[in-house]
């Protein structure tokens, strides 16, 4: 095959990957470098000039309380939702994988909140959990003789309230990922285990959990990365309040952005990028080890 022929043969392959690669380079890679670059610039909405300012944006960061709170909150939110979701979902998925009458209806109901937009889910729960006289949940709580809980107004409980609302919306998603994986575990394995006289608990730990390793990996890795990006639900419920107690990475960045401090917001973005990368590395490393151990 001569050289021209070879080039002619590769052209269609290149042409077919080009749209994806070009879009990715333009709208993903370039913005990444832009953000890092402008974090070293004085760039605001108030002046047309964008001037190099060295490390001045970063110098402010160690004293920035909001930044620390938002990193802490995002990490807490991501970890808590992933852990709570997995604990609740795995047994439900196992039950709904068995030949149970009506299992499709249960699956459909559990998955339903996933298609509701997170913003609307946030508003809906804000009203359900309201501490005004209208709040349905507080009506029950006071009806039972307890004191009202200020779910979103009390800085000590607000973050956990948001976490539970998130779990309410998304556990159906995690459940379906586990279900997809369970269908791949052969029924023979279950039977072999019950012949061996393994009880339900042993079966769960020694067959189901290792068998679910791929789904656990997807749920934990994507759950953590999505958790770090939490935004809509905060905007709808607390908007970062009370007193910035529920501020997260993206809400604090958005507030710097809407203040017009674009350069400083870029520095926020760069710091968060580093946090996200560290989390991703820890997760992938951890799962690699676990998979190696299971592989033995």
């Amino acid at each position: 095959m001569n050289r021209n022929q070879k080039i002619k043969n590769t052209v269609p392959y290149i042409a077919m990957t080009a749209p994806a690669v070009l879009l990715f380079l333009i709208f993903f890679v370039i913005p990444l470098f832009f953000t890092i670059r402008y974090s070293f610039y004085n760039w605001t909405n108030y002046s047309p000039d964008i001037t190099f300012s060295g490390l001045s944006n970063y110098v402010k960061i160690p004293e920035d309380k909001m930044l620390k709170t938002s990193i802490k909150n995002s990490l807490l939110f991501a970890t808590a939702t992933v852990v709570i979701q997995s604990v609740i979902t795995m047994p439900i998925a196992v039950v709904l994988n068995s030949k149970l009458r009506g299992r499709n209806i249960f699956r459909a109901i559990f998955f339903m909140p996933v298609v509701m937009s997170t913003l609307v889910v946030g508003y809906l729960w804000k009203y359900l959990l309201s501490s005004s006289d209208y709040g349905f949940v507080n009506q029950i709580i006071t009806g039972l003789g307890f004191e009202k809980i200020n779910f979103f107004g009390n800085g000590n409980v607000a973050m956990w309230t948001i976490i539970l609302v998130e779990v309410w919306q998304w556990f159906g998603w995690a459940m379906v990922i586990y279900l997809g994986n369970l269908q791949n575990i052969s029924g023979d394995l279950f039977e072999a285990a019950s012949v061996d006289g393994a009880n339900a608990w042993d079966r769960f730990w020694h067959i189901i959990v290792p068998g679910l390793a791929p789904a656990i990996k997807i749920n934990v890795v994507t759950g953590m990365i999505n958790g770090l990006k939490v935004f809509d639900i905060i905007v709808a419920t607390t908007n970062g309040g009370p007193a910035h107690r529920t501020e997260t990475i993206l809400t604090s960045m958005y507030s710097k952005f809407s203040d017009g401090n674009f350069g400083y917001a870029s520095a926020y973005g760069t710091v968060f990028l580093v946090v996200a990368m560290i989390v991703a590395c820890i997760l992938l490393g951890g799962f690699k080890k676990w998979e190696e151990r299971l592989g033995q």
């Binding site: 990715f24 709208f27 909140p113 309410w168």
Partner: protein, 286 residues
């Protein structure tokens, strides 16, 4: 005799377990449905009625709240914007990811094929939201602010990596012999793809299309940054704008929330089976 007693006892135990399972599942189902029920019935109530009897059925089906919400949200326009963004983005994602997935599977033995795949895969690990300021700068530079294309291009790009990943994994199940047979018949690469391969990719195309319809339709942050003119905004921004303004007017707000989730809810009610099996299929590939 003893055996019969044991089976009876086992049966009893089984029945008990089954009953407990159903109770457990029903409790969760109720916890899922009550908020949705509350959302629906409150749209027909006065604030006073909603406060006194939150779980009661409405006394009459008064749609005036919906009509008001429909007008205040400028619903037809907002719907049109959301719909166009979703339609064009999902079409783009399906086309570009199926082509790239095909090539990257067939060329997975080549260095270039592996490198391009790794590059795209990195998009799944770096959240684009962290670099949204750079993206904002770029969109402004390209003069795309307040153009639906800004959100369309961004939504296509950020959803491509996972879509390419799914398509590429699926291509591994489509035999290479098909390509070779087509080549002998004189079909070029592109024709082979459009006439033979693409139709075979239907199951993954459905998964990718469904997942991304949910993703793009429910994207709030992209429009919030790039569609700041009201004429160009999407349904979620209308909800955000209006609820921010009148957050004490409960009966005004609930119809807006229902109007906001209704299109996807209808989509879900009809496509529920495919949506759930689509997500399942996607996870298996992962």
């Amino acid at each position: 005799m003893g055996g019969a007693v044991r089976t009876m006892r086992d049966n009893k135990k089984k029945k008990f377990t089954l009953a407990a399972t159903y109770i457990f599942l029903t409790v969760i189902a109720v916890a899922m449905l009550i908020p949705i029920y509350y959302l629906l019935v409150t749209t027909f109530k006065t604030p006073e009625h909603a406060a006194v009897a939150p779980m009661a059925l409405p006394s009459s089906l008064d749609f005036s709240g919906y009509i008001k919400a429909f007008e205040e949200m400028e619903y037809p326009r907002a719907f049109r914007n959301t719909f166009l963004i979703t339609l064009i983005s999902v079409t783009g994602i399906v086309l570009f990811s199926s082509m790239a997935g095909y090539v990257l599977n067939r060329k997975s033995d080549k260095k270039a094929g592996q490198l391009v795949f790794l590059l795209l895969l990195s998009g799944m690990m770096f959240p684009y939201q962290m670099s949204i300021l750079g993206l904002y700068k770029l969109i402004r530079g390209l003069n795309l602010m307040n153009s639906l294309w800004s959100v369309i291009l961004v939504d296509i790009t950020i959803n491509l990596p996972f879509a390419v990943f799914l398509m590429r994994s699926y291509m591994a199940t489509v035999p290479m012999e098909l390509d070779e047979a087509a080549k002998i018949d004189g079909a070029g690469v592109f024709r082979t793809f459009t006439t033979i391969i693409f139709p075979l990719m239907k199951p993954t195309i459905a998964t990718v299309a469904i997942l991304n319809t949910l993703n793009v339709w429910n994207d709030f942050m992209g429009p919030l940054y790039f569609l700041q003119s009201r004429k160009k905004d999407v349904i979620l921004q209308e909800i955000y704008r209006n609820i921010g303004q009148f957050s004490t007017d409960w009966t005004g707000i609930f119809p807006m929330m229902v109007l906001g989730i209704m299109p996807l809810m209808i989509f879900y009610l009809f496509m529920q089976k495919y949506i759930i099996s689509g997500v399942m299929a996607g996870s298996v590939k992962g």
